[in-house]
């Protein structure tokens, strides 16, 4: 039977590459993102190029009602769903105090909760004999505490940690593979950030379609973690030898200079704050 891949955040650069690669492998698609028009445009391209069925459902994955509705639709489709790719997620980078807490909370809801809810809904009903292949997109940031991206990095750590645990618990039902990429040149601002990081940024950047292919292959074999790129793997291995407090310090300095964020000043206590 033809299987369907469910992809969240499908309209973005990484999501649309996942959609393209699954379609090239003959899978039908069920795509979601916030903007219905973008999904339609992508679906049209995919259907012209590949002989596949593409369905779509636009929803806001930070919204409880929207999310439950979508999870319900998926539950009804469970038997035909062979893969779930949780791509939807975003970052709000910059000095913590200038972040809007409401945005950070929304980020936590999309980056952590959405994938968890959808995985739950697809695994909680009996499935056919085929294993469900879950791909969760984390980031290299999942491995370190990251100044200027503190909340983001923590949401990605959540994805990594819960995926590794659930993978054991759900064995026989689903495999879970976590993708931990470095920056990918999927948006103009991502490309600018890569340029800002100079030679290292350029070297650790990989073509999205290669990353996607490698990840799907790994998921089909049930592998736990994908860190694309030789250099990224080397950096990751090296960083494991250093205490994470020091890694955080190094990263803070690198990003601080690269994006010229204001120097971190000693915390100024606001009046009335006690002690």
């Amino acid at each position: 039977m033809k299987q369907t891949a469910v992809i969240t955040g499908a309209a973005g650069g990484l999501g649309n590459s996942f959609a393209w690669e699954f379609a090239a492998r003959g899978w039908d698609l069920f795509l979601t993102d916030r903007d219905e028009e973008s999904l339609r445009v992508l679906a049209r391209g995919l259907q012209r190029a590949h002989d596949v069925v593409v369905r779509l459902h636009a929803c806001d994955l930070s919204d409880d009602t929207d999310r439950s509705l979508f999870a319900g639709i998926l539950r009804a489709e469970t038997p035909s769903v062979g893969a779930l790719v949780n791509v939807a997620g975003f970052d709000s980078e910059g000095p913590f105090v200038s972040r809007d807490p409401a945005v950070l909370i929304r980020m936590m809801r999309v980056n952590m909760e959405a994938g968890m809810v959808l995985t739950h809904s697809l695994c909680s009903f009996p499935r056919s004999t085929e294993l469900l292949r879950v791909i969760n997109v984390a980031s290299l940031a999942a491995f370190y505490p990251m100044p200027f991206k503190a909340t983001y990095a923590a949401t990605k750590s959540f994805v990594l940690s819960s995926s590794l645990a659930l993978r054991e618990e759900l064995s026989g039902v689903a495999t879970i593979t976590v993708l931990c990429p470095a920056g990918m040149p999927t948006t103009p601002s991502a490309r600018r950030a890569i340029l800002d990081q100079g030679a290292l940024g350029r070297l650790t950047t990989l073509n999205t379609s290669d990353v996607v292919r490698e990840t799907i292959d790994a998921a089909m074999r049930g592998r736990p973690i994908v860190v694309p790129g030789f250099l990224n793997r080397a950096i990751l291995r090296a960083s494991h030898l250093i205490p994470s407090r020091l890694v955080a310090g190094l990263i803070g300095r690198r990003w601080g200079t690269a994006r010229s964020y204001p120097e971190r000043r000693p915390t100024e206590r606001l009046a009335g704050g006690g002690s």
């Binding site: 649309n16 590459s17 393209w20 391209g45 012209r48 190029a49 490309r191 350029r202 290669d210």
Partner: protein, 297 residues
């Protein structure tokens, strides 16, 4: 301007906001043509349009923002062009110059999931030309110019993976798209030259000092482009624009010499005139641009 039966020729040019396209746009206007240009940035289009309208007050000058990276916007662009021309009394498009192009170190995908160089450099000219075909065939005869590049000679069409999901490199994608430009002209002439209603030309503008190689590049590729455009072999885009505008507005050269390098006819790569490949590319492109109202197969 004796080639045109009445009044000013109506010329459409894409990528009019920088480089070769901008230089050619100016020259077209100085030659007295009515021109609709396409660009991608709203701001650049608006400021260029008002600048040009102040200078050329007695002819049609429009610079329309239209992102040529997706088929639906390209279709809308064609519709806008038709409407603008109709309003100023042109039923025909006498000349269409497909000039806009991109080069990128990164494999960027368009909203439709297509590789951006294939989409902008090849599919957009294919679709825009087909969308404007009825108007072009009212020309005397209509002229389609596709700006290609000498680098088409090292290009290959990757039939199994035209979007280059495997083994992407900037040059591989660029050369493929530029070879596709010449094959497209070959097929256009196959289909339309015998009717006497349309002629297609592939134009190689030479190495020009423009920013095309520094807009979306990094590392070595960016560096090499910098060195190339500063080399003594590189010409000012205005020099190339002069030859391009001559090709657009002067007596029609013989169709069997459809490939031009600057002022002179030249020989394109043999594989760019392969009739089977030309027909096959047309079919692939038609499928990738298909709408409910499909382009001719």
């Amino acid at each position: 301007m004796s080639a045109w039966n009445e009044g000013r020729p109506a010329v459409v040019i894409t990528g009019g906001t920088s480089g070769l396209g901008r230089a050619a746009l100016l020259r077209l206007l100085r030659s007295g043509a009515d021109v609709v240009a396409i660009g991608r940035s709203e701001d650049r289009c608006a400021s260029l349009e008002s600048e040009l309208q102040a200078e050329f007050t007695t002819q049609l000058v429009r610079v329309v923002p239209c992102d040529l990276s997706t088929t639906h916007r390209t279709r809308e662009g064609a519709e806008q062009i038709r409407a603008i021309l109709r309003e100023s009394g042109h039923l025909a498009v006498d000349v269409l110059i497909n000039n806009a192009a991109v080069a990128s170190s990164w494999r960027i995908t368009t909203a439709e999931g297509y590789e951006s160089q294939f989409a902008v450099n090849h599919l957009a000219p294919f679709l825009l030309t087909n969308e404007l075909m009825p108007q072009l065939q009212l020309g005397y005869p209509g002229r389609v110019i596709v700006v290609t590049s000498g680098s088409h000679r090292n290009g290959r069409i990757h039939w199994g993976d035209p979007m280059l999901t495997r083994g992407y490199s900037m040059l591989r994608a660029y050369r493929q798209s530029k070879l596709a430009n010449v094959l497209f002209c070959t097929e256009l002439n196959q289909r339309y030259a015998p009717t006497g209603r349309l002629r297609a030309y592939a134009y190689d503008p030479g190495l020009m000092r423009t920013d095309i190689g520094s807009k979306s590049t990094a590392g070595i590729e960016r560096m090499i482009w910098g060195l190339r455009v500063r080399s003594p072999g590189a010409i000012d885009p205005d020099v190339s624009a002069r030859a391009l505008v001559r090709l657009a507005l002067n007596e029609v050269p013989k169709p069997d010499r459809f490939y031009r390098q600057l002022e002179s006819p030249a020989r394109p790569a043999r594989r760019s005139t392969d009739l089977r490949d030309a027909a096959r590319l047309w079919a692939v492109s038609a499928k990738l641009c298909a709408s409910e109202k499909a382009v001719p197969h």
